[in-house]
Symmetry: C2
Subunit: 348 residues, 2 copies
DNA sequence: TTTTTTAATGTGTTCGAGCACATTTTTATT
DNA sequence: AATAAAAATGTGCTCGAACACATTAAAAAA
């Protein structure tokens, strides 16, 4: 029993030439019923899988992958994504992989659409994107499907049935993770605040998912928790910092603050002055959050690992193109709980 | 400016044949000084990297990787490793990769040595092992080095300078992670117990590393914590469960219990009866631990992700053999903090 | 039956690296 | 200068899949 049969092997076993075997496998026609049967008989017995390396060599094609992602200058959360891209480019530079970045402003749908148009015009083999803007992302997905371009998303979700690859975190569940942490720290009774802090509110569905999960936990456990929700957004002309301070002045008697965005540091900056006993749980290992984590002004951070998301998305697409590995339709990544002691290992 | 040059390209640029280029690259001699210079001049300009796919196809070699790991029947902690092996076998079945398992009893050095001898006798290209027994593992490493076999370790460490690949967790730091969690849950003053629970104590250095990290945290922060260390091991003829119960009867006034092994469930089983207010932090997502985690009898678990360790070790070795990717000498994996809400994502 | 058309099958080349072998050039020897 | 020996260089094949093209066999038309 051989392990890996080649086309030549099959040809010999079936008593035909490799050309005929090839035609049978690829259903290119021009095969007599007799030969077809002979080859299929062999194929049934041995389960042939073409050698992906030979296939790849013969192909010798350059695959273009476009990636639509927000500008890291506007929000450092996205910085690790760029590292992941660089890493993948290095690892796969000799495998004929080209990655084309389409950077957009995270607050501008126009910028997103423009970047998308630019990138799709070059007819890439796949488009990987952060679907920050629901309607616009849906449109991009549809255009890709129409053009036969593989389409993948990460970090956020849209409900498009033709997405080929979807990588992200279970946001509802991550809200529950935060809730459980508060529950452990504060016991069976407390007052909490959910804070949606961001400079803009387009497509804020991810924040709401986290809030839903957060509330769901306490409801399900029937705990005596009071939970207030606050939307805090940058007001024009007033510094964001000032807005935060005003907010903190306006509330009291809060045991814990759950920040659904990566902006927990804005809060932590002033927490000692106004609510010294309140615990903060936030998201994402951005530098400023880590600073306050280390100062114990942030209790926990939840890590969404954007770098891993990009890395996995890209390698999944690449291995699909190069080696015919199937695309994982949907991949839900772990919800990493971060404290002062374990954050360094997540940063590399 | 071309991206990927081939040997043929270089030959044309240097005005020689591809055979000569090949001899220069592989330093096989038989090249005139003049030709050498011509080729090197081109090589300096373009930075040639051979196409790993073509190389791999030509090679057409079957690589044998041996993996020495404990029997999962004796300790379910190792079960995910077997899943990782199966997964890698499937993913790389058409890349000429053979994985040979050498299973040993986790309490028997003899069994380890026997499995190692058996596996090395077949002259694999690499040996990946869990170096549970220091002296014996060191010996295996030396034998591999002598035989030109690549040697990799995971889960535990030995100090052998010739290890080619080392994957695991920072155990000292994971002790600190546990300490920090207790600190957050219990405040600035408490009494804790460190429990080394296992059925045998050979090579228990990993437990001690965790203990050191744990104590280090409180010492560094100068917190008023009392920490007592207990070794609990299976006594012959007495059921382990009974030993645990006796231990619990013997202590009181403990706010938290830190179990340095995967045996936290043995404790959790009886905690409600003897120390209902004590918090347990343990290691590893074995089924029984998860059960008590869900019942809130275990507060947190630290995940050592043996599956990921094996997966990364194997793929790293494979990509080294197939595509000349360099081996990462030492890779320290994140210390995952697990509670009731986030464990499922770590299990897949 | 012979010729034409169409269907079926086989052969040869390519991808890039790597190595065996053949050929050519240079150097040494008579 | 002729020949032998050694050194240098070039050619051609392999790995396995894929496809273009050539060849052969069978069916249709004359």
């Amino acid at each position: 029993m051989k392990e890996n049969y080649t086309i030549k092997d099959i040809a010999e076993l079936a008593g035909v030439s490799k050309g005929t075997v090839d035609r049978v496998i690829h259903k290119r026609g021009k095969v007599s019923p007799k030969a077809l049967e002979q080859v299929n008989k062999v194929l049934d017995k041995i389960e042939y899988k073409p050698n992906p390396i030979a296939k790849s060599l013969k192909n010798n094609k350059i695959y273009n992958i476009a990636i639509l992602l927000p500008d890291a200058d506007a929000d450092p959360y996205w910085l690790p994504c760029y590292e992941a891209i660089k890493q993948v480019e290095q690892e796969f530079s000799h495998f004929g992989i080209k990655i084309n970045k389409g950077v957009f402003k995270p607050k501008s749908t126009k910028s997103f659409t423009k970047a998308a148009d630019l990138v799709i015009a070059e007819k890439p083999d796949a488009v990987l994107m952060v679907p920050l803007f629901y309607k616009e992302a849906e449109h991009v997905a549809k255009m890709c499907v129409a053009a036969g371009i593989k389409i993948a998303t990460f970090n956020n979700y849209i409900k498009e049935p033709h997405i080929n690859l979807e990588i992200g975190q279970d946001l509802f569940q991550s809200g529950r993770v935060a809730a459980k942490l508060f529950n452990m720290l504060l016991g069976n009774k407390a007052t909490l605040a959910v804070l949606h802090i961001d400079e803009a509110f387009q497509n804020a569905s991810h924040m709401q998912e986290k809030e839903r999960g957060f509330k769901d936990y306490f409801a399900q456990k029937e705990l005596a928790y009071t939970i207030n929700v606050h939307n805090i957004k940058k007001e024009s002309k007033i510094p964001f910092d000032q807005t935060i301070e005003n907010f903190l002045k306006s509330i009291d008697d809060v045991d814990g603050l759950f920040v659904t965005t990566s902006k927990a540091y804005l809060l932590a900056n002033h927490i000692a002055a106004y609510l010294p006993k309140s615990l903060i749980i936030g998201y994402d290992l951005v530098a400023e959050n880590i600073k306050y984590l280390e100062e114990d002004k942030i209790a926990f951070l939840i890590h969404q690992d954007p770098k891993k998301q990009v890395y996995l998305s890209l390698t999944n697409l690449i291995e699909f193109f190069l080696f015919d590995k199937p695309l994982q339709e949907s991949l839900t990544l772990p919800i990493d709980i971060i404290n002062t002691e374990n954050y360094p290992q997540y940063l590399n």
